[in-house]
Point group: C2
Chain length 334, copies 2
């Protein structure tokens, strides 16, 4: 396999401020030939994540995305041809293929996945989003039954699952999201106890009303002013699971942090703990088993937001950063 | 016992900005008579702590200090007369006597202490300072041998002990302090590996030089810009023990927090954890036994900074907030 075109999205310049379509370019490359140990992949579903934008700001737990290269990103893909004993044509894998139709990658950088219907669940509830929600809430946030749990970006891929798991564990759950429709989804379909529309309500005041006994666990996807409002409403010995800071990604250099750090951390004996999913690789099987059982029992409802066509990937990310998605956003390639 | 004068310091107004001598007034009250269950105390050593200033900002783990009342503060005192079966004349206690020569307090609010020479050690290494250093470092910071540990306000009552305990545990220790004399004390007398004079050096740059392998544990006494510099120099899975934020106490309302929160907390999977000493009451005996054995073996050198005369207590606190003390500051009363 070699001949044929491979449409791909290049990041042509690193955004200085807000990410724009003009930062990207659709290009046509060749379908690569796999080398020894590699597999040639046909990309099926590209994952869109707020972290994609964070990677443009500089090196994090991975190296920075460089201007002039194919935009980096995870995807579910099918093996077309394999030069590794570990994979064969037809296998489904997750890997960092980048935003393109075909990629050749070393088998050791690919994670073999179970083929399932719908395949999209491999990027949502059984993918990084679901596992991040699971470990971030249970291992970092450590809620006890009866606790009040708050999650921001609550209608997003991770937040929507965090809240549902917290309900399963007997907590009172408050979601913070941008928009009345998202808030209605949280309370009417996903079982959240309260939802706060941060675009319309003062978050601190709304929290005092929704959580009169204070907040025990805050799952933070956004940072910034909402984190600040939470700091003032946390209970003593509260836990803040620091998952992301989407409010800080799409702009200039990061601003000063929330007020009350570290003063409130001391006074309330809070724990703020950052994590990324790979920290919990050893517990992956157990987490997936729980998630499967909860989805199969109808206790977790999976929300997905699937767009089509590689040419729409830049706009899909720009829209995600603006909060237009509900549930896990991905782009399906034909 | 009743007749006689009781000199006392009133906080006459809550400072809006920097604490000043004019916020206080020396007054003369009466020596109180203990009620049933109370003991009359003669104050011997008043403890000066940065937290005294924080208490003026509002309620924390204790209620705010109110203008027009005797300034709050802990002290070592001797029982003069007791109406409680738990205490007798001559006993030495620690309690919140406030800044005055005599106080009558319920016995259950007093902690009976061993009489020792020098008595001042009950406020330094065997008091709140030493125990805060011990538990904050070992239980919150959790250093392993070989780790790089940084402590700020390193020549202060807590910091000077934190660094010495970290050395005992096999760590590389860097102290941050304001002034060349303090820095010389740290490295020449207290065994720190490096000292950074934050008034003269850019802390971030100095940290990169002194800790080329990064920082594993940061014991934070100061907050603000120094905390920010540390965030950028922490290693993955680093721990920040949040003990205090003296940079934030003596001024207007707290400023925005350090840059990099929560972004760097996520990326580096840091843990920031606040604590106060009473969280570790159940381990007190063990901690004291360790501290005694280390002091007796000459492994911890105790630095104290003892002033005299109740009329000097306001200036003692103002000076402490300006960083003029080395080791534990207290005021001895005749």
């Amino acid at each position: 396999m070699a001949a044929g075109s491979n449409r791909q999205i290049l990041l042509i310049e690193t955004p200085k401020e807000k990410l724009a379509a003009s930062n990207f370019k659709l290009d046509i490359g060749e379908i690569p030939s796999p080398k020894e140990g590699e597999a040639l992949l046909k990309v099926k579903l590209i994952s869109l994540d707020a972290a994609n934008r964070a990677w443009m700001q500089g090196a994090t737990y991975r190296s920075a995305v460089e201007a002039g290269t194919i935009m980096t990103g995870g995807a579910i893909a099918e093996v077309v041809e394999s030069k590794s004993p570990d994979l064969k044509a037809g296998d489904i894998v997750f890997g960092d293929t980048g935003w393109q139709e075909y990629a050749a990658l070393p088998a050791r950088q690919l994670q073999k996945m179970e083929r399932m219907e719908p395949l999209s669940h491999l990027l949502s509830v059984y993918g990084i989003a679901g596992l991040t929600a699971y470990h971030g809430l249970l291992d970092v946030g450590r809620p006890k039954a009866g606790d009040t749990v708050v999650v921001s970006a609550a209608a997003g891929s991770v937040g929507s699952i965090v809240g549902q798991i917290a309900k399963l564990k007997g907590c009172t759950v408050i979601g913070i999201a941008g928009g009345d429709e998202k808030c209605a989804l949280l309370t009417k379909e996903l079982g959240f106890d309260h939802a706060i529309n941060y675009k319309k309500e003062a978050v601190g005041k709304a929290l005092r009303a929704a959580a009169p006994k204070g907040v025990d666990v805050y799952f933070d996807n956004v940072g910034g002013d909402i984190l600040e409002a939470l700091l003032f409403n946390m209970n003593n010995y509260g836990r803040i699971a620091c998952c992301g800071a989407v409010s800080q990604y799409d702009g200039a250099a990061p601003a000063h942090g929330p007020r009350g750090i570290p003063g409130l951390i001391v006074v309330k004996r809070l724990t703020m703990q950052g994590f990324i999913l790979t920290d919990f690789n050893d517990k992956r099987a157990e987490a997936l088993a729980d998630l499967h059982s909860w989805v199969n029992a109808g206790k977790i409802k999976v929300r997905e937001d699937i767009l089509s066509g590689i040419e729409n990937t830049p706009q899909a990310l720009i829209g995600l950063l603006a909060g237009e998605n509900v549930g896990k956003r991905m782009v399906r390639l034909d």
